[in-house]
Symmetry: C2
Subunit: 535 residues, 2 copies
């Protein structure tokens, strides 16, 4: 779709908060014509002279874009291998690049500019790169969308909270959601109204129900007009919303005039269905390097359906480059972008210039298709990690498989885990009847969400499940493995979903070594047995 | 003074805003004992594996710490020369250092850690460096102060606004102040009550007057309890508050229970008195390299007098390293630091790891005394630039000198500038009687503050001076020189100090080349003549 075919965004400025409306316009407004005059002698700003900047040149050894295999190769675990690179003194395969204070060619990344004060929008080069990337990968459905850099999605969301919500407002979020997003809103008295998740992720039907049944008096606040959602590899539940479901959610948001904040750090960690180890095949086309085909295989962003300009998409380099670069970007309509920019000018200003310069030069060095090759490789790495982790669960527990009829995992393959008992029972295929936990294989991201059963615990029914959840969490920690406790992810602080009977833990497979994963699962099995059976 | 001699801070937690008090405690509270257990298998956090980070090693060519002369050498203009380094292809004198993903020695800066998620406090190494620096240079007068990194003083102040002021509150600020500080507060309906400046900077007597005469009903808000101040090289007026004055201000703040936000980007750009070119001597002891002696020659920070822990000091690397690193730190009591940290966790998180790693390794490479040597050199650079700029004003205008009796510049040498008329009048020492502008030589920072007189303008008295100020500003811009208009710096948006008769401009001498400074002053002279005399 070419730009000309797309509609213009509609005016959604009534969504801005009072604080955002009160934010001053740019002081440069109306003066811009003078300020951009070539040859104007600048005696206005307090800019240090670049000759004082202590970095003359920065030379980087960067990984090659094809450092990680884009396919599953049996017995090939590149993530472990690359970790071993260091352990055995093996060298990572790198390409060098340099960023200089006084570069030779006009188009080069200029370290002097990167080290200077810059527009809070971010550097021109990195904005151009991210804009072209957004156009190519996400294809927004309207014409006048804008890019604005930020210092990571936490900063992005935090700015959105005060730009779109007044103190005391409600927002919408998945029933299980990212706690830091809630913590950004909490101090302003902004609470999250949970929307149910089903087997396909955020439930459009429940979204409509929450909005249509909204009772201002009961809730003590107006009907929410901001939806916070993590559509791919949802944190913590690991689900990924399909294109069709996104269309449905978008339609509900149009009907009820809700803006959608698409927090999408795991977009390139979309995964095919989990297949048990013994049935897993080597990927069909290991040498397929078609970037476009790969991109079209991914679930589209909400931007793809956004013909009105009501989506604010948050992208981050945290998962695709590194969290430490503190760099990401908003994609949204120009009115929203201008208000978010003003807020950035009086808080973070531009993201760190060193981060911007090195990431920009990295992407230039890799070239657009090289970066996409890298993203494929990364996605495969995390898929391998997920598969390995679930393989280990299969190896350490008896797993029974069923298709869920429960709303939450409806239609998905659920794995129920029972303890291995050892001895004769083990040999003849009978095993413990105490179901320990259930899970579905995540379809993206970095996490597996496990539902734990406490009904055989001596104190079951006598205290709330979340208390048992924390007791068990503590036992896990004492045993030597750190998980994330489920209550922490509940959008509703008081009513934890299924909190009466079940506990939940989020387990990350993104970081641990394969041997540590195995040790961790052994600890979970041992501690769980002691916790439930006292033996 | 050793740590043991110092009192503990008093409890000032009643200064926290409602929003800050409502901010959640750390989710790790109480769990810390488990999380820090060595050998704990981490399956909780969504951290990418460092093998995926694309930067293997970063090699930097850094300026040597003694790149800039710490003394005035006649005919030696190092800032211009270093700028010319590039113009003529001369090389900057550099030392190399490297930051590696997998460093060889335990104490080395670890690029893998810098690229990972990190505590919003900032990296351990950079905190240790800044803490030692703060202890050595500022010597806080109480024991339990804390360091917290931020992404620059704009971020620092922006966090302070919502941590200490409720919507609708008033804060205190110098009558002329940094507009971005006001812009951070403005959206929350937080207004600045101006405190007068006199020849020694922020006026303690006027501070007491404002506080003691505060009328809640008239002002529509409680008596302010937060003072925002720029004590060195004040932006825009260029003044520096003496130790004695700081003591007086601190005492008033104790009496009225006001916390002091010391925004001090120009601390190391303190300057000796301006001496006209013909009387200027080469510095007495050009080879004096005693770091301690230099540090003790600087005006002490408010921290030096802070026996209660009511100062929040904002330090930034923007002027001492480069603005693009977006890096600075808070120094304050532990209760304030904890609340500011929580806020950082849900907004910027840690500053950019690349910035932190390269700045930390730079400071380690330079060593503490090397960094102080660098700061001396920088201070001298800006002093040279100030001197050169004022020399040029002397060369281009007739300057009459007097000691001010006006409150604002009381006791300081004021330079009144009259046009050069050329021809016979010039030859015989008579000149134009139209006073164009007045200024005092700044005692620090990057700016000269000029008061312009419009009384000979045909429209004088018919329209407010700020209108003439903006007309003239526009004429300057059309003529080819960009200044910062004075109204922009007024703490009181409606009543601009002296706004009835005079206009003001802030001129920066930090960035322009010496030839550009000269051209800029020529334009100012030409445009002013046309503006006032129509010729």
């Amino acid at each position: 779709m070419s730009a000309g075919d797309r509609p213009k965004s509609i005016d959604l400025s009534h969504h801005l908060s009072d604080v955002s409306k009160a934010r001053l316009p740019s002081p440069l407004k109306g003066l811009a014509k003078y300020i951009s005059t070539p040859g104007l002698i600048p005696l206005a700003g307090g800019l240090p002279h670049p000759s004082y900047f202590p970095f003359s040149a920065i030379h980087v050894d960067a990984l090659v874009p094809n450092s990680f295999a884009p396919i599953t190769l049996e017995e090939h675990q590149p993530s472990t291998f690359s970790w071993l690179w260091n352990m055995f003194g093996l060298k990572e395969k790198t390409i060098p690049f340099t960023v200089k204070k006084y570069p030779e060619h006009p188009g080069d990344i200029n370290l002097a500019a990167a080290l200077q004060y810059d527009s809070a929008q971010g550097s021109i080069q990195l904005r151009e790169i991210t804009k072209a990337f957004t156009e190519r990968v996400y294809q927004p459905a309207y014409e006048d969308w804008e890019i604005l850099l930020h210092t990571g999605n936490t900063d992005g969301w935090s700015r959105i909270v005060t730009t779109f919500a007044n103190p005391g407002d409600w927002i919408l979020a998945e029933e299980w959601t990212y706690p830091s997003a809630l913590a950004s809103a909490h101090p302003w008295g902004i609470k999250a109204a949970p929307v149910a998740i089903d087997g396909e992720g955020l439930c459009a039907v429940d979204l409509r129900r929450v909005l249509s049944e909204w009772n201002e008096v009961e809730r003590g606040g107006k009907r929410p007009h901001v939806l916070y959602t993590i559509p791919v590899g949802q944190n913590p539940t690991g689900g990924t919303v399909s294109a069709q479901r996104k269309r449905e959610v978008y339609e509900v948001c149009v009907e009820f005039d809700v803006i959608i904040v698409e927090d999408d750090p795991y977009y390139f960690i979309q995964m095919p269905q989990y297949v048990p180890k013994e049935a897993r095949k080597i990927h069909a086309s290991p040498f397929d390097t078609d970037a476009e085909k790969y991109l079209r295989s991914l679930v589209p962003s909400y931007l793809r359906f956004d013909w009105q300009g009501r989506v604010i998409r948050l992208d981050t380099f945290s998962k695709t480059v590194a969290p430490g670069v503190r760099l990401g970007w908003f994609t949204c309509n120009t009115i929203f972008a201008e208000r978010l920019l003003r807020q950035g000018e009086t808080s973070t200003q531009a993201p760190c210039g060193l981060g911007q310069a090195l990431v920009a030069q990295l992407l230039i060095t890799w070239k657009p298709d090289g970066y996409i090759r890298r993203l494929r490789g990364l996605g495969q790495q995390y898929t391998d990690r997920r598969d390995h982790f679930i393989d280990l669960l299969h190896a350490k527990f008896h797993i029974r498989t069923s298709v869920s009829e429960h709303d939450f995992w409806k239609g998905r393959t659920v794995y129920d885990a029972y303890p291995k008992t050892g001895g004769l029972g083990e040999k003849y295929g009978t095993f413990g009847q105490t179901k320990y936990f259930s899970f579905v294989a995540p379809s993206g991201g970095m996490f597996i969400w496990l539902k734990f059963y406490f009904n055989s615990h001596p104190e079951f029914g006598k205290k709330p499940a979340e208390t048992l959840e924390m007791q068990l969490w503590e036992e896990f920690a004492k045993g030597g493995v750190l998980l994330a406790p489920g209550w922490y992810f509940s959008a509703d602080e008081e009513n934890i979903p299924d909190g009466k009977y079940e506990g939940h833990y989020r387990i990350s497979f993104s970081m641990a070594t394969y041997p540590d994963m195995e040790r961790g699962i052994d600890i979970i099995a041992r501690v769980m047995k002691l916790f439930l059976d006292g033996q």
